[in-house]
Symmetry: C2
Subunit: 206 residues, 2 copies
Amino acid sequence: MYTLYGNKVSGNSYKARLTCELLNIEYQWIEIDILTQENRQAGFLQINPLGQVPVLLITPDNLAANSEPTLILESNAIIRYLAEGSALIPNSAIDYARMWQWLLYEQGEVRPNIASVRFIRKFQNMIPSRLEEYQQKFDKSNDVLSYLNQQLEGKAYILGDNVSLADISLYAYTHNAEEGGLDLSPYQDLLNWFKRIESLPNFVRL
Amino acid sequence: MYTLYGNKVSGNSYKARLTCELLNIEYQWIEIDILTQENRQAGFLQINPLGQVPVLLITPDNLAANSEPTLILESNAIIRYLAEGSALIPNSAIDYARMWQWLLYEQGEVRPNIASVRFIRKFQNMIPSRLEEYQQKFDKSNDVLSYLNQQLEGKAYILGDNVSLADISLYAYTHNAEEGGLDLSPYQDLLNWFKRIESLPNFVRL
């Protein structure tokens, strides 16, 4: 049995939800309100001392009664675990390495920039103490969007012909970049790629 | 044939070098001088437009003459590719997921904080324009070191009894945290874990 602790407005949580939906994986959703900092309260910190969502709880119903429930942290590690054996994970060693290259790029460049400008603008109403950070991350976000747009040129998906977890992960914080004040109209290949992902069977919106 | 574009003082590059050495993988090293910004010049930007090291170049000598050389970016994706089939990658699905959980934590929390304070202090001589950032990242670095120390309590390696890529990756920027001005003496479990890694056959220093 899978339980996802997540938040409905969080792109990181959305990656896990979208992966479950696309793959018809059954799961229970437990909403953690990050806007009221429920993720920083004792109840949730017992689950994840880092206070981050999503968290995947695996309770092995078909194992011995004394077997331990298991937690997996980090959105990209969670979706990798959930998608094991599915078409969302490439077979070839090179494509598999490239998938991880993009999942790490997402973690290192997309999330810290695009997710932050969205959060500051949409959920913190451009709080003055973060305005300088907003501008720096806004500029870096445009670099990221431009790079992704260029990498998608002539391709259906980021690895080529087939959709993979790299697309799911990169989509989570790019498709709503306008909520961070970013203009997506110069990035036509990116916009076409959004439409392709949004046409996948069982696709659900953030 | 493997070629690693890397830099001898970069922890990210060191991860790839250490993995090759521990696994007796033959490779050619091409030094890219990040301190003189060789990574931002046209020659290297043709290899990696992001200007980052390490980059793994795979030239498939045993394939057809017209086969394309392949590049893999992102240190943790590179070491995952290099270690395929070795004991540095756990067999169980849960341990494999946990390995990635730590590789993503490394990318999301360790590198942006501990590597930055080291770079600002050791290679930029505490440049005034980054002092505020240094202090913020110094404090976060202590949170990271404290969390890792706690996670290592009672364990030989971060996943338990066996060394994995998660250890190699986490070691790269924690064992030299003192170069960033951080005091490691409160973190005894971390210091013991350093010694265990440094005793591995074929271990090489950064």
